[in-house]
Symmetry: C2
């Protein structure tokens, strides 16, 4: 009689999932520790016309007074203020108009008593004059001016350095540049702007069953959706996404791809602990697999580590898990390296729930929700593979790992996509 073959509870251990899971907090701590040791990316210079939205790499100190000269703030006449004493429209002071001052084209003369200079907004105020009388208060025949009002010294004159003084810190390092900041840089003579270089992010898509992004589903094969999604997320967060690469589920090819130079590598798929999941093993043997398996839902089969100096994130192939794991972990790193705020890039609002949001103690939940009449409505979803839940959703709610959920009529923060 042949004895029965032995049955071992762990015979198929590599398909059985994780022995233990890290908390979200410990994974974030690991990321932050790596980030603080390497700091943000170094500077690169870009043209002014490409600088808006980028992060300033150094503080900008003005080398100039702006304006560099006294300028008129009005169309009118530059004159000596004390000569307008007592002038009214009924009893005007008569002055000689000795010329005109235009922006960039001053009058090369000194205003003497009894004289005035026609002046345009922005034009240099000629020496001798110490005020501008607005054109509305004057009459003229071209050579004689009837000054029909009094002005105190300094009126309608912008002084040198009034906008910016030489030596002023105009913009601080780390500033996300606004359109008007770019205007200031231009005025300060800064044609090339030092900004934080975007981290180079490679996106590796594993899964033999996947067709190239944007191709029609065929039989049991579907097109990759994570490549284009991750590429968009990386670019949103300030990274420079390389065109996603599809690699076969072959350990040698995966290793070869992981060893190409990059600041950050995102691997979609094969991140779990099953026998088809090569990537964690490869990362662990050729680099460091620091975190593998996280107490959260979705995205539990997420890993991260280091290889050849690149931060490597192993993201689940399921699209929702992939999005969530990106936003929790990889996005944080990319935002930091890009010089941005590392926290969620989503706007947060505090709202009341329509219905209970269920969770379990011991894991953090990322629940997609809609906002209906300014209240939070959980989306009925059946799984992490339902990417359409993230397009139907207006945002998401985080249910912490010490909570069983959020009751109906409870208040919660909602992060808006």
């Amino acid at each position: 009689m042949v004895p029965p073959r032995p049955v071992h509870r762990n015979a198929d251990v590599r398909m059985r999932g994780f022995v233990s899971r890290s908390t979200v907090d410990s994974a974030i701590s690991w990321i932050d520790q790596v980030l603080s040791s390497r700091g943000i990316m170094p500077a690169e210079e870009v043209n002014l016309l490409e600088a808006s939205g980028r992060i300033l790499a150094h503080e900008i100190v003005s080398q100039f007074d702006v304006p560099a000269f006294a300028r008129s703030m009005m169309d009118g006449y530059a004159l000596r203020a004390d000569e307008t004493h007592g002038a009214t429209s009924y009893n005007p002071v008569v002055l000689d108009v000795i010329g005109s001052s235009y922006p960039g084209k001053p009058l090369n003369a000194i205003v003497q008593p009894g004289q005035a200079v026609r002046i345009m907004t922005g034009a240099p105020v000629p020496d001798g004059a110490d005020a501008v009388l607005a054109v509305e208060q004057t009459e003229t025949d071209g050579t004689k001016l009837l000054a029909g009002g009094e002005v105190p010294a300094g009126r309608h004159i912008g002084l040198p350095g009034e906008d910016i003084r030489r030596g002023d810190i105009v913009l601080p390092s780390g500033r996300p540049l606004r359109p008007q900041d770019v205007g200031i840089l231009s005025a300060l003579g800064i044609g090339r702007v030092p900004v934080v270089r975007p981290p180079r992010v490679r996106i590796l898509i594993t899964g033999n069953e996947l067709l190239p992004a944007g191709t029609s589903p065929s039989g049991f094969r579907i097109a990759d959706s994570n490549g284009p999604m991750l590429s968009a997320l990386v670019n949103r967060d300030g990274g420079a996404a390389v065109v996603p690469e599809m690699i076969p589920d072959d350990p040698d090819r995966i290793l070869e791809s992981l060893q190409q130079p990059a600041d950050v590598i995102l691997v979609s798929g094969g991140s779990s602990a099953g026998q088809e999941d090569h990537v964690p093993v490869i990362l662990g043997s050729h680099g460091e697999l620091a975190i593998h398996g996280i107490a959260m839902r979705p995205s539990s089969p997420t890993g991260m580590g280091l290889l050849n100096g690149a931060l490597v994130f192993l993201l689940p192939g399921n699209p929702v898990s992939c999005l969530c794991a990106y936003d929790f972990f990889a996005g944080r790193a990319i935002r930091f390296l890009s010089g941005k705020n590392r926290d969620w890039p989503y706007r947060k609002v505090r709202l009341t729930t329509n219905r209970k949001l269920v969770s379990v103690v011991g894991r953090l939940d990322y629940a997609r929700v809609r906002i209906v009449d300014n209240r939070v409505e959980p989306l009925a979803i059946s799984g992490a593979s339902v990417l359409s839940s993230t397009t139907r959703a207006d945002g998401f709610v985080l249910i912490p790992d010490d909570s069983e959920g959020i009751p109906a009529e409870g208040e919660t923060d909602v992060y808006l996509y």
Copy 2:
């Protein structure tokens, strides 16, 4: 005796400013009327990898069920649910493992009574099976499976069309595409995405005194700051900004530039009613100068009209006025044409003022403010030429034309830059 030369109060009328000013509301009404008659820009197709952030030009209807087949939501075993009746880990049901189903690589077999198929997450569920038992509830020696738990029919199986059904409207026309939307489009086989074509926006910089953007100030000449700022604003709002062109203050050259093809033309400088302000006259004689002079501060010398089908905005040369006039008027048109929400792109918060914000009845004020300890602090500013006020500011407050200002400790909306 020579008689005195006649003095006329309006001898210098072209330097005297505007006879009357339009309200902000009437200028916006004119813009909206032009926009509603021409509609948003037509569609163009872009690659998936460039689609995020763009505006979808047509609704997207799915041509496929996603998934197209029943798939496993777990790693485990596909089997016939009724055979697990009464199974426990102490009293398992024994089944024959007849093969494995992988994502994209199904097992070509029908599961018979007494049989099970090893199955990975995402893999097709073989015919005959109607449930998946999670791997954690099983033991195996490779050919025999000990099913240690009951499952109801349908458990852990994602049904065809569960994510998206053929014929579903997946994304509506006009949607600003999110990263996850791009993922969905990819899965639906849409490799080229129909998005709204950005309006082509030409930026003309007038002012003989100006040096090219980003050059150091020299003597009485300063570098143009409006070109780079406007370019950044246009791109932010979804337009395609052509590299700004500097044109001399020469009517023929200005006309020639205005006649080049564009959807929108922004002219910086020369927008007022002085004798150096050629642009309004040219626009009025060769096209339509619909609005010129607006009851607001800054940006009062703003104009707008039409020439050869292009919407033309005449923006003041002073940088703050230029920014303000852009955001009130030109930006509104560009955002609409790009398919975006035409309203302010700034986030609005309601806060209490630290100090009075002064205005006068009859004009709308655009006041730059800082936010200090969550309260509104007006910026001490001396004029529209002080661009640094917009970089020091956190945002702005609008004081309507029927108001004398906002008192200290008053509530107001702040638009955040």
